[in-house]
Structure formats: structure tokens, C-alpha cells
């Protein structure tokens, strides 16, 4: 599995959230495929040198949002893709993400077109990653 986790400390982003985001990106980009098994909590904790409860919390959050599924006695796997969020919640998450983006780029002085183009390109990259895997 080419998935490479890394966490940094001293960041405003808690370690568990860094893990959550890396798994999300890996799934969205097709690096992790549905049905694929993730390292055990213990193994990932020892690899990253973090408290096992931190990894467990990340896996828990990802299971809660439907990205992963826990199979008792077997481990944690990438779930088959399905929508677990209610439509309003889905929209709320999209809006929050876009607001963050807008805040970050507000002072950089790019034109709307330039921003949209880059956004388009990144979205394409995500899809490209998925197709390669198939």
C-alpha cells in the first residue's frame, strides 16, 4: 500500500485530525480503494510514534462518517462508497470547506478565473487518481 502517513506536532491541527485528513485524501484520490485494509491501531501508533488512542479516535471519526468500516476481529477497512451525510450536512461541509479556501486566498491577489482554474485542475487530479486505479 503506497499510503504514507506523517504527522507533525506543534501545529494547530491535532494529531488525530491530521490522520483523519490524510485518510480522507487517500480515499478520495483512489490511493486507498474500497475494501482495502488499514494498518491496525497499534501498528499505526507505533509507526507514527503517537498514542494508540489518538489513532483509535481518528479511525473512529472516519468510521462514523462512513469512510471506513470496522469488521470485528478482522480490522478496519475502507468502506464501499456511500453517502452517510444528510443532504443539509453535506452542503454545510462543502460550504465550510469553500469558506476556508476563500479566506486563505483572499489576500493573494489572484483573479477569480485563476482560482477556478486551479480548483478545476485539482478536482481533475482527484478523479484521475481514481481512474488510474481502476
Amino acid at each position: 500500500m503506497p499510503l504514507k502517513f506523517s504527522v507533525v506536532t506543534g501545529s494547530p491541527d491535532p494529531v488525530y485530525r491530521q490522520i483523519v485528513e490524510q485518510v480522507r485524501v487517500a480515499i478520495a484520490g483512489g490511493v486507498l480503494q474500497p475494501g482495502e485494509q488499514l494498518p491496525s491501531v497499534r501498528a499505526l501508533a507505533e509507526l507514527l510514534v503517537v498514542n494508540p488512542n489518538t489513532v483509535a479516535r481518528a479511525y473512529n471519526d472516519l468510521t462514523g462518517e462512513g469512510a471506513l468500516e470496522a469488521r470485528p476481529g478482522k480490522g478496519v477497512f475502507v468502506a464501499q462508497r456511500r453517502q452517510v451525510f444528510a443532504p443539509e450536512e453535506r452542503l454545510r461541509r462543502l460550504e465550510a470547506a469553500v469558506q476556508t479556501l476563500v479566506k486563505e486566498v483572499a489576500l493573494l491577489g489572484f483573479s477569480d478565473e485563476e482560482i477556478q482554474e486551479l480548483l478545476q485542475r485539482e478536482l481533475q487530479k482527484l478523479k484521475g487518481g481514481e481512474e488510474q486505479k481502476r
Binding site: 504527522v7 506536532t9 494547530p12 491541527d13 507505533e46 503517537v50 498514542n51 494508540p52 479516535r57
Partner: protein, 323 residues
């Protein structure tokens, strides 16, 4: 079996007229990696020494693995591993001899753990302990402390003076210990980045007073920073419970608040800012704000945050500090 391996009740210690540990009520959950934080001289080492029965409390009491700290029977001591501050070793012995010497004091000694840690720190068994570097000495001490497979490991500032490689080895060893879920580690530290990696609980001691004791993530969630922007003049601040720091710039107020909750949010929104934004804090920033120069003893992040009435209101911002 109790859920807590350490419990203190009003534990207090004076040195002369100086109160070093002040009415400490601390509970360390079994199976946790518990980070014991505080500035130099906050009373961490004195607390640890009282827990081990090395220093007598002036008042109060403590139990460790269910036994009174002042009366620890040998069977209880065997279950506790203590790494003292400073990594002291018998300099004339070799690494191997240190292990054999230490093992003679224990009924149970797992040589493969000793060997594993010694190898992990790349120590030569024939090297004289006195010739080891600081990091290597730490490795040797850790090996000697871990080999009896103690149920409770107490590490007093184990990372002090270590280089990054040795620190990482230390953290890996700590994670390794918790492969057994009934093992508990209490460690004191100044290195927030490391605490963030390995601790699941933290306690913060300041001037001998326990200022916080809770899961690490709760500490982060409950020390928060906000930026409020206003059209024109910034308003006077009302008394905000848990206010740690306030900075005022043109049209903007930045606030760091402990025990932030719905009530605090309501209060901030009632100032009617045109923009209201959270500024995420790193653990270190949160810690420094929390123990800021104001140094009140009034906030307390508790394991039971659903009891907000336990928090005192520390009202008004010190207007002198607001330019």
C-alpha cells in the same frame, strides 16, 4: 481493581514557609500515558517524590496502586518503575553490569526487554556507564526501569537533555510499554511536542496548584482563541469567564478563553462584531496562554466539564494591559 493507579487527596508539601505543592487532588487513570506538565519549580518532582514515599507530605495523603504512599510495601514497590530526574548511573559499571546489578533487586526481571531497550539506544554492553552520552545514559536508565515490567512507570523529566534521536527512541519505548493495556505511564515534561505525541491525559501544575487535569484533547478544545472585528470603535469588554488574554488592535480584539462554552460564545456575539473568527492554537500556544503572566489560580479544566458552576468567574480584563 481501581480505575486509578494514583489518587491524591489534598496532598500538600511545604519547604520552610514555602508551599511547593498545594492541596493537590490528582487521579491518574489506569492504562493512560499521563503527561505531568508545569514550569520549572511548579512542584512536579516534589509531587512524584511524595507519591513514591521519598518525601513526606506536610498534609494530605496519596495512594499508589491502592497502597498508602507513606507505607509502600515491597510487593507494591516491585510493581512501580521510577526513572529519576537526571539519569544517574553507577559510572564504574559497564552497561551489562548495570543490568545484572539492577536485576538482583527484582523477583521479576525480563532480560529481553533490557536487551531490547539497550539495542534500541545502540548501547555497547561493555561500555562504562560513566562514559556514555546523556542520551545513552537515558537509554540505560530506561532499560533498567522497564526490565522488571512494572505496572506503573513514573518518569521524571525523561527527555531532559536528550537529542532528537534519543527523544524519539524514548517515545517509542513509551508506546511499546502500553502494548499491555493495564500499563500506566506518568511522565513529567516541558516538551509539548512530545506530550502531544504520546500523552492521552495531561495535568498542569502551576506554583504547586493543579490548574488542569483532563484528556489532552479536552485541554485543546477548551483553551480557544478568537478574533473579533468591529466597525469603528471596539467596545468595552464585559466580564468574560475564563478570559486568559486579551489584545486590542484597531477595530479588532483578540481573546484567549479557557473553558469556552455556549455561554461564552453568546457573550462574545452580544458584542455584535462584524466578523467573528476562531484562531486555531497549537498545544504549546494554548499551554502558554493558559499559564500566562496573569497566572490566576482560578480556572480549572476538569475531567467533568459538564459542571460549569465549578468555575469561578474571573471577570474583567486588566484594562492597563489593553493599549
Amino acid at each position: 481493581m481501581s480505575d486509578y493507579v494514583i489518587e491524591t487527596h489534598g496532598l500538600t508539601r511545604y519547604y520552610g514557609g514555602k508551599c511547593v505543592v498545594d492541596t493537590l487532588d490528582l487521579k491518574v487513570p489506569r492504562g493512560s500515558i499521563f503527561g505531568f506538565l508545569g514550569r520549572n519549580g511548579a512542584g512536579k518532582s516534589t509531587t512524584i517524590r511524595m507519591l513514591l514515599g521519598l518525601v513526606e507530605p506536610t498534609r494530605g495523603s496519596a495512594t499508589i496502586l491502592g497502597h498508602d504512599c507513606q507505607n509502600l510495601p515491597p510487593v507494591a514497590r516491585e510493581r512501580i518503575g521510577y526513572l529519576a530526574e537526571g539519569h544517574h548511573v553507577y559510572g564504574w559499571m559497564t552497561v551489562g553490569e548495570c543490568g545484572r546489578f539492577q536485576s538482583s533487586f527484582y523477583k521479576h526481571w525480563n532480560q529481553s526487554i533490557f536487551d531490547g531497550v539497550v539495542d534500541h539506544f545502540n548501547l555497547d554492553r561493555k561500555a562504562k556507564a560513566g562514559d556514555l552520552s546523556r542520551g545513552q545514559r537515558a537509554g540505560l536508565c530506561l532499560a533498567m526501569t522497564m526490565a522488571p515490567e512494572p505496572e506503573l512507570l513514573i518518569l521524571d523529566d525523561p527527555a531532559l537533555g536528550l537529542d532528537p534521536v534519543a527523544r524519539r527512541s524514548l517515545l517509542q519505548s513509551m508506546i511499546y510499554v502500553t502494548r499491555r493495556s493495564d500499563r500506566t505511564i506518568l511522565f513529567s515534561s516541558h516538551l509539548l511536542a512530545e506530550v502531544e505525541r504520546v500523552a492521552d491525559y495531561v495535568a498542569v501544575l502551576d506554583y504547586g496548584v493543579l490548574r488542569a487535569s483532563c484528556p489532552l484533547e479536552m485541554f485543546r478544545e477548551r483553551v480557544r482563541q478568537f478574533s473579533l472585528r468591529f466597525d469603528g470603535v471596539t467596545p468595552q469588554l464585559p466580564g468574560i469567564p475564563g478570559l486568559l488574554q486579551a489584545f486590542r488592535a484597531a477595530g479588532e480584539i483578540s481573546l484567549t478563553i479557557a473553558n469556552y462554552d455556549a455561554r461564552s460564545e453568546e457573550l462574545l456575539r452580544s458584542l455584535q462584531p462584524v466578523a467573528f473568527e476562531e484562531v486555531p492554537l497549537s498545544l504549546e500556544d494554548a499551554f502558554i496562554s493558559y499559564l500566562g503572566e496573569r497566572g490566576e489560580k482560578s480556572f480549572f479544566l476538569d475531567q467533568a466539564p459538564e459542571k460549569p458552576e465549578a468555575l469561578e468567574t474571573v471577570a474583567v480584563v486588566d484594562e492597563e494591559k489593553l493599549p
